[in-house]
């Protein structure tokens, strides 16, 4: 029942997705960094609060509320890592193919699948997750309303009756934007520290 009405909106979503120009440069342009936002300053605290609230939404599977904290021009990616020798000039961070390469529409689609479908067998029963976000460092950027924020995330995940956790760590390169006085996520690049992912899938957002 619940799926009937939202589907129409999804169809519109697909139409939008189809008309979009999807090409993106190899690496998202690094925002030119301005002044550092000092640890413990009011703005820093606001950023830290954003991440605390975000982790709670994600861990509580309130994904549609989380989607409301994303900007509609969201770029959400997770590069791959390819092991190379230290002296190899080629970067071990790969963006030609990634683990996520999503925009607002596709992230919304993923979020709806995880929350509205009973048949999401990858996550029904869903994993219990706990996101630990730390090492937040933030800078102003050339754009007055945008902040460049680096954070570390440790995602612990326990599934079904398994006595073990699987976990993923990543460095997150974010752009947060002030929209009507509130911070929203405009860009996230999660650089996962694994080359061969030790999980059967990573549909969980980082």
């Amino acid at each position: 029942m619940a799926l009937v009405e939202p589907l129409d909106r999804l169809h519109d979503g697909c139409r939008v997705m189809a008309q979009e120009k999807t090409l993106r440069p190899e690496a998202p342009a690094t925002p030119s960094l301005g002044d550092k936002i000092r640890y413990g300053s009011p703005l820093y605290n606001e950023i830290a609060e954003f991440y605390i609230d975000e982790a709670l939404l994600l861990d509580d599977n309130r994904l549609l509320e989380w989607v409301a904290t994303l900007t509609e021009d969201l770029v959400y990616t997770a590069p791959m890592r390819v092991t190379r020798m230290n002296e190899d000039p080629v970067s071990d961070i790969v963006r030609s193919v990634q683990h996520f390469d999503d925009n607002f529409t596709t992230i919304s689609l993923r979020a709806r699948r995880l929350t509205e479908s009973r048949n999401v067998w990858a996550e029904n029963p869903r994993a219990r997750t706990r996101r630990f976000v730390s090492n937040v460092s933030a800078h102003h950027t050339a754009k007055q309303d945008e902040l460049a924020v680096v954070s570390y995330v440790l995602l612990m995940r326990n599934k079904a009756e398994s006595p073990n956790y699987t976990f993923v760590t990543a460095r997150r390169n974010d752009v947060l934007r002030l929209v009507d006085g509130k911070l929203k996520l405009a860009r996230r690049e999660s650089i996962i520290d694994m080359s061969v992912l030790g999980v059967p899938h990573l549909v969980t957002f980082l």
Binding site: K21, V97, R113, L197
Partner: protein, 465 residues
């Protein structure tokens, strides 16, 4: 390779179980134990993986002389390298001195391989070139330098895919692919410039036996209805009738199989609703210019007759080979992901399921595109692929979550004696106008091609091939 009768019935596990007891031809059942048996796994490494042709990647991953990637052939590590003359060599990544891994990274470019342990060096084609401290002749005086090279696999390229085998005198890759090559050509060998990888593969670990994934791709269309129901709910299955589970749209197709390989040929007409021309136009090029093959631009369509026969063009126009498996452990997906609103997104992937012991495999997922396709189209194909397939795919995450449960069950004292069933056979029923060879099954996706997969596995395990 007509394995004699003695050999055929000779493969027996230490507890006296024969392969024929595990794969029961009379009743079309397979003991669940096949997924969790160390002796069987060890035998498989020798009898299947050390003898079959194995897909290791694509030559576009190593375009320049000196480029190499490291991969696995069953349980053995290998180096896939391009030499200065452009040829591709596959060498066992095991130093002939004391067994160290010679190439350490996943990818790189080098003029030669130098083992870090004692410093022996090898050319890109695996030939031994020297041991440090030449004055002391540290490679001894028993073996010639020519005998100290890295062990070489036999290599054949097909459509740029690197296939390798340890069966040096065995059947050619063409013989191995058999009647499937006709169908595979319609996907991989149909354009002037061919296909390429869009980047390195996604890699992840699934705690399941490699056969669980491989047999699914041997055309288990049936599971889509239940396991991938969420994509239907989200409206991602195309025309409205395909969204109604009662129509079973998409589950009726033509499945073809030979030598354990198989492909689902999906009736392209389901996408044609909005096209201006009649679906049944006798000239396949008319339809192909309305809806180009997956990954083709309209401008590329005139290339098709140069590479494909009329029969292959008809197939591509009406019933395009779309999803399937290459025995033993590879799979392919080449489909339009229907988008509502009349748009289609092409996507093309190759998977391999590399065994890491009996209860674990590495899932390797490459995204492919036509080399000649414009960059925007390639990028769109990759993005669509990421959304549905591989590590974060909305479709394949459901599969990867399911397989470990089967694996866990295969360990149970009672469950391992239970059988998995392939008893819903359609029987061969090739349509009279079907242009290709092999065993052909038209209709609902039943168990035939998967049962053939197990028969092929049995043939390898019992030395019948």
């Amino acid at each position: 390779m007509t394995g004699n009768q003695h050999m055929r019935n000779g493969t027996t596990l230490p507890d006296g179980t024969k392969i024929e007891d595990l794969v029961r031809k009379q009743t079309q059942e397979v003991m669940l134990r096949v997924y969790d048996d160390q002796d069987l796994h060890d035998l498989e490494m020798q009898k299947v993986f050390a003898r079959s042709w194995l897909l290791l990647g694509h030559e576009s991953e190593i375009p320049n002389p000196g480029d190499f990637v490291t991969r696995n052939m069953g349980s053995d590590p290998v180096i896939v390298a391009r030499t200065t003359d452009g040829a591709i060599h596959v060498s066992l990544n095991v130093c002939t001195h004391r067994g160290m891994r010679v190439a350490l990274p996943a990818a790189g470019n080098t003029r030669m391989f130098r083992c870090v342990y004692h410093g022996w060096t090898f050319r890109l084609d695996g030939q031994f070139t020297g041991a440090p401290v030449a004055s002391e002749q540290m490679h001894g005086n028993i073996l010639e330098a020519s005998q100290l090279g890295l062990k070489q696999a036999r290599v054949t390229l097909y459509a740029g895919f690197v296939f390798a085998s340890w069966n040096i005198d065995g059947p050619s890759l063409d013989e191995f692919l058999g009647d499937m090559k006709f169908y595979l050509d319609t996907i991989f060998a149909r354009s002037d410039r061919g296909i390429e990888v869009c980047g390195p593969p996604q890699r992840f670990i699934v705690d399941a036996n490699w056969k669980i994934a491989s047999e699914q791709f041997a055309c288990d269309g049936y599971h889509v209805l239940s396991l991938h129901q969420s994509t239907r709910e989200l409206g991602l299955r195309g025309r409205p009738e395909t969204l109604d589970p009662r129509t079973l749209a998409g589950l009726y197709a033509v499945e073809v199989a030979d030598n354990g390989h198989s492909l689902r040929c999906v009736n392209a007409a389901q996408y044609y609703e909005r096209a201006a021309a009649p679906v049944d136009d006798p000239d396949p090029m008319v339809q192909l210019s309305i809806l180009p093959p997956v990954g083709f631009t309209p401008e590329m369509v005139p290339q098709l007759p140069k590479h494909l026969s009329l029969g292959q063009l008809q197939l591509l126009a009406k019933s395009a080979p779309s999803i399937g498996s290459i025995f033993p452990n590879s799979a392919l997906i080449c489909i339009y992901r229907p988008k509502l609103g009349g748009f289609l997104t092409p996507m093309m992937c190759i998977h391999t399921f590399v065994p890491l012991g009996r209860g674990r495999f590495e899932f390797i997922n490459w995204f492919l595109a036509e080399r000649e396709a414009p960059p925007e189209m390639k990028a769109e194909m990759v993005r669509a692929g990421i959304l549905f397939m591989g590590t974060t795919g909305m479709v394949e995450s459901d599969d990867a979550e399911t397989w470990p449960h089967i694996q866990a069950n295969a360990a149970g004292a009672m469950s391992r004696q239970q059988t998995i069933k392939y008893q819903a056979l359609a029987g061969e029923n090739k349509p009279s106008d079907w242009p290709g060879g092999g065993a052909v099954y038209a209709g609902f996706s039943k168990d035939d091609t998967q049962w053939r997969w197990w028969n092929r596995w049995t043939d390898f395990m019992t030395d019948a091939v």
